[in-house]
Amino acid sequence: MEKKHVKHGVEQLLKAAVNLSQFAMVTSTPPVFPSSILKSSNDTNINSKWSNDISTVDKYNWLLHIMYGRSEYDRIQQFIRIQSFKSTYMTYIQALVYRQEGRIVDALDYFQKCVIEEPSLIHIKQVGKSLALLGRYRLAIDVYKDALKHAKNDWDILYNIGLNYFHLNELTEAKRYFLQALQVSEIQEVSYLSLGKMYLLDNEREEAETVFQRGANRNPESPTLFTELGLRAFAKANYTKAFECFGTALTFAPTYIPALMAACQVIQKHGDADVALSKYRIIYRQKPECAQVWNNIGMCFFSKKKYVAAVSCLKRANYLAPFELYVLYNLALVHLHLQQNASAAIFLQSAIRLDKRHAASYALLGIALSKLNDTDNALRAFTYSIKLDPTDPIALLNLAIFQKNTGVSQSSIDITLTQFHQYYTQRVAVTNQKEIDKSMLDVAAKLQNLPSFAPQNNEIVVVPPQPTILFSPNKPVIEDSMNLSKSNPHELSALRTKTYEDRRFRQKQSQHQPITSLDNTDFEQNEPLNFSL
């Protein structure tokens, strides 16, 4: 009876085997690893291999794990090589080591081998990760979705699917998965960061800010989230809040570069070049070849009126990143200050070659050319600049000065000046008071009053030949700072470190005008700064 039963069982097994043989042929992939590995070990220790107790092949896994934790990759590989039986975990660790060594394809092979041997969640995830690292995002998504069948509520899988969709530029899908990941686990800061990034790419700034804020509430020590939050505030010109956020980020990670760069930006906005410089040193130690840092260092020197040092730094920045528009623009600006007008014009031409629609460069080129006595081209540069950006009060003012110097009729100067006043008040309305240089108004007033030859304007009547020399170089400084603060929000968060220097406007002719309350506020603003650093 029993024998029969057993026989029946065998028949059944054989039947199943026949049915499955086709399937097995397809699915049991030929050995992923080169068979030579197996063979060599066979040949060398064929005896010892089969005398081992095979049931405890996992007994050294803990040691491999500890060695991997200490990054003893060479030793791990040697150790695995001498093992006669390779357990799945050994294959897994070997794959991890390969990944650490950058051999992603080998790692993928080994992870796939792991999945064949033991289709557990962790192995499937690693296959997905390797595929994503190799840039095969579609396949990775498939693998992760397969993994989702094993574990419905694993934020890691959801997050990774989202990330892959992001790489495929399918933002809505990505967003959906990031949201799911956040639903599963609310504390993961990477989910918040990625979701926020999605919103930013979709230009939903408010949403992004809420996400970052939520993340920061859950992760009160996350430098990345606070930096993002600060950048949002910075984009909205809420500098106090921005600075607070950067300060928080730096309290927990004093050398976190994006937060440092952003904080320095705020510091420079307050005109405290010395403090900014000392902070740039930290970045400089870590990234001595970063053009953006050199650019910002250069502009710190510029606001300290150390023009030669500024030129040195900017030239290094230009050397490191020859195609950076702002470096060229800043170089031109500093050269204008040094009255090296020819150099300034050449740098501006390079800048314009990089971005043909950069209005500020044209305006500056107008000044440089007018000093090089190329009035025709200067006028063309001014007109083109205003055509590109008709709302820029500084370009308008500089044009008025230029017109004055070239003896254009007072009526057309007045037209320019009315435009200037119009856009000036507009800009004052929308931006922070501190960013606008009030002395522009004085200059405009002088220009308007000139024709009257009123006795009280005597001193200014004498000035006319010089105004460009005196005033014009200063204007673009402010202009640039505005331009930058506008351009910031458009920056991708990935390029966060590229927060360009916003030059503090320094009044060369401040004899006319007591320095505004600016500098006082600077010192007040410094307080939170020192504590945060």
């Binding site: 069982g9 065998v10 097994l13 199943a16 085997a17 499955l20 043989s21 097995a24 049991s28 030929p30 050995p31 068979s35 066979n42 010892s48 089969w50 049931s55 405890t56 092949v57 996992d58 007994k59 896994n61 803990w62 040691l63 794990h65 991997y68 934790g69 200490r70 030793r75 150790f79 001498i82 093992q83 006669s84 799945t88 041997e117 289709p119 993961q188 020590e221 927990f252 004093p254 050398t255 000392s278 902070k279 040193r281 930290i282 400089y284 130690r285 260092i297 020197f301 030669v308 040092a309 040195s312 040094l338 090296q340 007008n341 020819a342 150099s343 014009a345 050449i346 090089l372 006595n373």
Partner: protein
């Protein structure tokens, strides 16, 4: 000159900044030490340095215990020996007394943990040593083997048992066996034994056959292995009270084992394989077990529940776990040190300057000093009290295992095993005090380093001055030269296009790329001209082309020196060969020009210039 002055004042400015912002940093020679450690003397006395002790172990295999109940604490180390001589096991259990080896026992396999536990109520209190290795715990009493506890066997699927039974009787063929096991492996609820898995991995039938022949007579077993072990007091919190053993296993279980009769008192299911355990409390009252797992989670178990109460996700793999009261301190592979509450909230996180290689708890009762020591890959040991870095110890090598406690009659010693097998012992000075100071949050040390502003030369300054005077002139000349340069470039480009001199020919509807290779040492060379039709607009093949060469006939002879090109299909690279023979005796070389021409036009389509190598002389023997 003025620029130099500016430079100088700039650099002075730097010094001022660095002076102002960092008054508290005075010790420049040891930049990472804290203010607390700036007093030149270290807090530690070096008691023993043996860099050639040849000990190879991990932190869990070091134990400080009074083995003979004589008031003097022994150092017990389970030494792996050289693990790379693998089939040969050199593992030894070594007992040191006052830095000298007292006794050593051979171990049958690599130990993964050593725990000194009390397993009886006899007086005097003499502890036993429990050594976990493989799937068993070996107990040593008075350093003599006393008992071996083996983990329970795991379930094996009936089908698998049947298959191997058949195999033993010899009435199943290899193929069927493979298929059945494979099916079971894919669909089965019970994992296969390692034997079957190994069998499935075999690719060579012959080999598989041998494998089955060898194993079919051996009993089929599925057994787990121990990954970590700690002890837990059974019924009293006293230091010398009865203990139980807490064992984490490869198959994702945590067992609590009673040390008197070796029965499993409790089993817990861990979602992943535990790698480090931390145990506190008393078994009979309330206890907690923390387990860091290979999947990057920390799980918290409590009395009475089989599943974890709480899970903390680490972003990386844990390399060490310590607990102070309700604070969990865990070091991760990404060189970060985290502190969590048992609820899973993170108190703080530090990024350390290098990878963590070992961690241990420092609990110095007489002074009430509790800290965690973290050995780093940059040969430093950092001591953290709460979140503050209170001391940095410099050592000569990477530390792979550490243990703090009593040794001999000394109260506070730190035993360290280095990467290369050295044994170091340091004693904490009795006068040492650790100040809590928030040194981590001071300005980073990089802030004092000057920025290396590139210097400007005198020539530059002179040029600047000249430019100020003659800006207009310079600008005009520059513009003229620039335009002239552009013109010249354009002209040359036009010329090369017309003459077919550039390596990629582009006409309205055909684009060809040329590439030439010379093989051989001479005097006979093989010259391969590779042509590729790269036009993307039209798919019509190019026909009616030929290759011809110009060369100095006194130096080279080519055979053939005219090649007809039958057809060039888009995207495919064609190679055309000719043989070049150097016919001169002189050691000279020349250029050969290759022209690809159309049959109907006189100007070449493209051309290439080949610099021939100097030919080896013809050897006549």
């Amino acid at each position: 000159m003025p620029s130099n002055k500016r430079e100088k004042s700039a650099s002075r400015q730097y010094q001022e900044i660095s002076g102002n912002t960092n008054e508290n940093e005075t010790d420049q020679t040891r930049p990472t030490t804290t203010t607390a450690a700036t007093d030149t003397k270290s807090k530690w006395l070096s008691a023993h340095n043996d860099f050639v002790a040849g000990i190879n172990t991990v932190g869990s295999c070091v134990e400080l215990v009074d083995l003979y109940a004589e008031g003097s604490v022994n150092l017990v180390i389970a030494d792996f020996g050289n693990i790379l001589l693998m089939p040969k096991i050199q593992a030894k259990l070594k007992v040191f007394k006052e830095f000298s080896l007292l006794k050593e026992n051979n171990l049958s396999d690599l130990p993964c943990a050593v725990v000194a536990c009390y397993m009886d109520t006899l007086q005097p209190r003499i502890p036993a040593l429990a050594v976990a290795s493989g799937s068993a715990v070996f107990l040593f009493k008075s350093l003599r083997p006393y008992y071996k506890f083996v983990l329970p066997q795991m379930e094996i699927a009936q089908v698998e048992k049947d298959v191997w039974h058949k195999a033993r009787e010899g009435n199943i063929d290899m193929r069927a066996m493979h298929d059945v096991l494979n099916d079971l492996h894919r669909g089965g609820t019970v994992p296969l034994t390692h034997r079957s898995l190994a069998f499935l991995q075999m690719t060579n039938t012959n080999e598989a056959h041998q494998f089955v022949e060898h194993y079919k007579t051996i009993e089929l077993k599925r057994q787990s292995c121990i990954t970590c072990m700690k002890k837990l007091n059974k019924n009293s919190a006293d230091e010398d009270a009865l203990n139980c053993l807490v064992i984490g296993t490869e198959d994702q279980h945590i067992y609590i084992i009673e040390a008197q009769a070796f029965t499993i008192m409790a089993t817990m299911n861990c979602p992943a394989t535990p790698s480090f355990l931390d145990v506190s409390g008393v078994y009979d009252v309330e206890f907690r077990i923390l387990a860091t797992c290979r999947n990057g989670y920390i799980y918290l178990f409590r009395r009475g529940s089989e599943t974890p109460r709480n899970a903390i996700y680490l972003n990386s793999i844990a390399v060490g776990l310590e607990r102070f009261g309700k604070n969990i301190i865990v070091g991760c592979m990404d060189s970060s040190l985290h502190c969590y509450t048992t609820k899973g909230k993170r108190y703080w996180k530090h990024l350390l300057p290098a990878q963590i290689t070992a961690m241990c708890q420092i609990d110095y009762r007489p002074k009430g000093f509790q800290a965690v020591a973290v050995a780093l890959a940059n040969n430093e040991i950092h001591l953290y009290k709460d979140k503050f870095l209170v001391d940095v110890i410099q050592v000569e090598e990477n530390i792979y295992a550490m243990k703090f406690g009593k040794l001999g009659r000394e109260d506070a010693t730190l035993v360290m095993i280095t990467k290369n097998g050295g044994l170091l012992v340091k004693i904490l000075k009795r006068t040492a005090t650790f100040e809590e100071s928030d040194t981590l949050h001071g300005p980073p040390k990089e802030q004092q380093v000057k920025i290396d502003v590139p210097k400007r030369t005198k020539l530059y300054v002179d040029q600047t001055l000249r430019e100020k005077e003659q800006a207009e002139n310079m600008y005009r000349i520059f513009q003229q030269d620039l335009i002239r340069l552009k013109l010249l470039t354009g002209k040359e480009f036009l010329k090369s296009v017309q003459a077919g001199l550039n390596p990629i020919a582009k006409t309205k509807n055909e684009a060809i790329r040329i590439n030439a290779e010379v093989h051989g040492l001479g005097p006979r060379f093989k010259l391969t001209v590779k042509l590729q039709n790269t036009s993307s607009t039209s798919l019509t093949p190019i026909i009616d082309l030929f290759i011809s060469f110009t060369y100095d006939e006194n130096i080279y002879s080519l055979n053939p020196n005219y090649i007809e090109i039958p057809i060039l299909i888009t995207g495919i690279e064609y190679g055309f060969c000719t043989f070049v023979t150097c016919i001169t005796d002189k050691v000279i070389s020349d250029i050969i020009k290759v022209y690809v021409c159309r049959r109907d036009s006189s100007a070449p389509l493209i051309s290439a210039v080949i610099n021939m190598p100097v030919a080896e002389p013809n050897l006549s023997i």
